[in-house]
Symmetry: C2
Subunit: 279 residues, 2 copies
């Protein structure tokens, strides 16, 4: 048995971590596909390669001028590269602390979207700086023949947040929503939200290119920002209940933070023959 | 990190193996559910606990009079107990050989359905004795408003095998089939089959209580038995292509055997705190 891995999740958005400090692993698209395949591999929403920022080529976005010691090289389950993942970075940060690779509880994690400040709390939950969330206007989605009006929010990626009176738990979200291409030229995520109190939201989400997921970090930030906007508030915090658990979003003048659980449940090694030629 | 596990699959029917020679693990339904959960656990179709037959209580079905040294304690992903799993027993047998727990390539594995003779081949594929497959009559299933006529086969569990001229690859199998309760009082699996040649079948399967899966061991045996019956042959062999790979079924006078791949891709340890209280 050869290649070390860990399995973890943040509000049930789940990841395979591959410790690779010296950037020695040949993490091909085929291997990402095989690792994330839920029947023939370990199964995950994505792979988090744990690599020293200094070990990466200078042309990797986010490395130039980074203050990070460790870089989150994130791959989607389809083998593609993603810039950031708000749930993944929590799991990544917890791993760094538990493995003794960082010695403080506050540090920055490098990513293709730039450095992200994180704080690992005593209860192992993690707070991540998510950058600015900007309300950009109004739009609508059509899903299963029904129109959902909402607020558009940019959290580095595009969102439509629709607040409903009816319980979102009962919605049929198996189809893919149609978005207005003028507002969403590259598609977007759609959040379906109930207000459960002054500072508590229930949310379900359909992620662009994926379908419904149990959690979406940027989606929870978008939902909180949209709800603050509707209340004519610039700053504030919201607890967001999602199918995979509960997170807290704080919107401040200099950007939003996301606090939530990070779980690492297993550590092991991949069979070397399988790594060479995944069966 | 505490509890040892392995992850493997047989034609993409996937399993978490828990080595537990002395039957010391408290494998509760909650833990099976958490282990098999694909987001918050390791993810699998089922758990194979690897336990010495002699370490089990005498009231466990299949232990009394068993010639087996090792017993496959199989649990479905929903926490329930299943008697046997034709794909699981291949992975189980390969593990025993690779871990040095048996020293021959032919041996018997204990199960709640009784002892199963297995042969682990040099290429790591495994042949398993599946018992008798008995054609019992004709029946039909209704799926998405369409009627599928077929042959009923008992392989220890009940099957309806429907042979079609149109390519089964294109069928919409997202709904659950309705079976005649007179023929299937406890439900059954439905196999959709194309004949690709004299001894090659393509098959898709909807498993009772699960939905479509990438493989079903008893289903491939049922399909081969039904095809032999249609050709008025008592014995013979069929290669069966399933979405998860390829297996060979041999039907002989004393019973059927199933030969197919068995892959073990990872080994590791579960976090002890997670095992105590899965998050």
């Amino acid at each position: 048995m050869g290649i070390t891995f860990l399995k973890g999740h943040g509000t049930q958005n789940d990841f395979v971590l591959l410790p690779d400090p010296d950037a020695a692993l040949a993490l091909t698209e085929d291997r990402v596909l095989a690792l994330c395949d839920r029947q023939r591999g370990l199964g995950a929403d994505g792979v988090l390669r744990v690599v020293r920022t200094a070990a990466l080529p200078a042309d990797v976005p986010g490395t130039a001028g980074s203050a990070s010691e460790w870089f989150m090289d994130y791959r989607n389950a389809d083998g593609s590269i993603a810039e950031m993942c708000g749930n993944g970075v929590r799991v990544f940060a917890r791993y760094l602390v538990e493995a003794g690779l960082v010695e403080t509880s506050e540090f920055v994690v490098g990513s293709r979207a730039g450095d992200r400040a994180v704080t690992v709390h005593d209860d192992r939950s993690v707070t991540v700086a998510m950058g600015k969330a900007t309300v950009t206007g109004r739009s609508a989605a059509i899903l299963s023949g029904r129109r959902y009006d909402g607020i558009t929010v940019d959290v580095g990626n595009p969102h439509l947040v629709t607040v409903l009176d009816e319980d979102v738990t009962g919605l049929d979200l198996r189809d893919r929503p149609e978005l207005d291409p003028a507002d969403f030229p590259r598609g977007g995520n759609v959040e379906f939200v109930n207000r459960l109190g002054d500072d508590v939201l229930r949310m379900r989400v359909i992620e662009r290119g994926v379908g419904e997921t149990r959690s979406c970090g940027t989606g929870t930030v978008a939902a909180a920002a949209a709800d603050l906007y509707a209340a004519s508030e610039d700053t504030g915090s919201r607890i967001v209940w999602i199918p995979g658990g509960e997170v807290t979003v704080r919107v401040q003048a200099d950007g939003a933070t996301l606090t939530g659980p990070a779980v690492i449940l297993a550590e092991g090694a991949l069979d070397e023959a399988w790594w060479v030629d995944p069966a």
